[in-house]
Subunit: 192 residues, 2 copies
């Protein structure tokens, strides 16, 4: 799989989640793998880049992450709205969602987690920072981003560049029930 | 200040943050008050509605929230992009930002926190859930939403209704450096 993703400097990784996109969480352990959608994530630190993400303790993904200590976060573009909703609406415990939905995954360069590039704007490889209390009480997992990359057509030099030319890569922001707002209409604040 | 905000049922409160908007955090204690912008927040639980939000420990807002145990979360609409960036770019420790920027604030019905309605799509009143470790290690504050309301022109019956008619109320999603993506271009996922 050869797609022209380019590395994102770690000091710019927080920008990938700064505007609240819905993401795909990928995980693997012991010969099994999974992918799910997650609307609830955010950066918590610029450097080292750290994030928090809510992953229900009953999901197969939580089981794989607890076992492996690592996971991937991929940012689907608008063209993947149907897939994003689909993988967020079924469990991978019984059947492999990659096979079921024909999802091609590469291996992350640092941690080897499954990563999607086709149709995605960016990805991150994350190492779980074990926090038993918040994982239990709030299903909130903290993690450090150890590598990141993006399609330079939409994110380069630490900046998003949304334009009509790259509409298929505009990030998705789940409103609920399969409706997504797409980031694309950009305004620039003027000094007051 | 009479603006036709309507109550949001608490079981729908998570929808207000589900798509990752940048918010304004309001706080008050001992005769002082403050307002800041925060891009890093997310729901963590549907019911009771709980959220996590990153507020730097060096901010005046953290000081006021630590003292009062409560805060407000307001969702600025696109028309408030300049104000959102302005209150996110200066501290309220030395001077009252409400006065400086001519911000009118009402008092929340349950907790009495300062709340903005004009130009905003929605607000929530939040009670801090003290979590000393995550507040210290990740600047991440957990809170329970105890009341919420929205402008029914853009959010009603638990659903966002973005249309060209209510563009001024489209939520802001900070891309960095004063550039915001506005939620407005909505697509609906189809079953795969």
């Amino acid at each position: 799989m050869t797609i022209p993703f380019a590395p994102v400097a770690l000091e710019h990784a927080s920008r990938l989640l700064n505007h609240g996109p819905t993401v795909l969480v990928t995980s693997a352990h012991g010969g099994r793998r999974n992918i799910m959608a997650a609307a609830w994530s955010m950066p918590v630190e610029f450097s080292p880049p750290r994030i928090a993400i809510v992953i229900d303790k009953n999901t197969f993904t939580r089981e794989l992450i607890a076992a492996s200590g690592i996971f991937g976060v991929c940012l689907p573009g608008a063209a993947l709205a149907d897939l994003t909703f689909a993988v967020g609406s079924c469990s991978g415990r019984e059947s492999d969602k990659f096979a079921r939905f024909g999802i091609e995954a590469a291996k992350g360069p640092v941690l080897g987690v499954p990563l999607l590039e086709a149709g995605c704007a960016a990805w991150m490889e994350c190492r779980l920072i074990p926090e038993a209390h918040t994982e239990d009480a709030y299903d909130t997992c903290f993690a450090e981003v150890v590598s990141a990359a993006a399609d330079p057509a939409v994110f380069a030099n630490g900046r998003w560049n949304f334009s009509p030319d790259n509409a298929a890569l505009h990030t998705l922001h789940h409103l609920g029930a399969g409706n997504f707002a797409c980031a694309g209409d950009v305004i620039r604040a003027r000094p007051l």
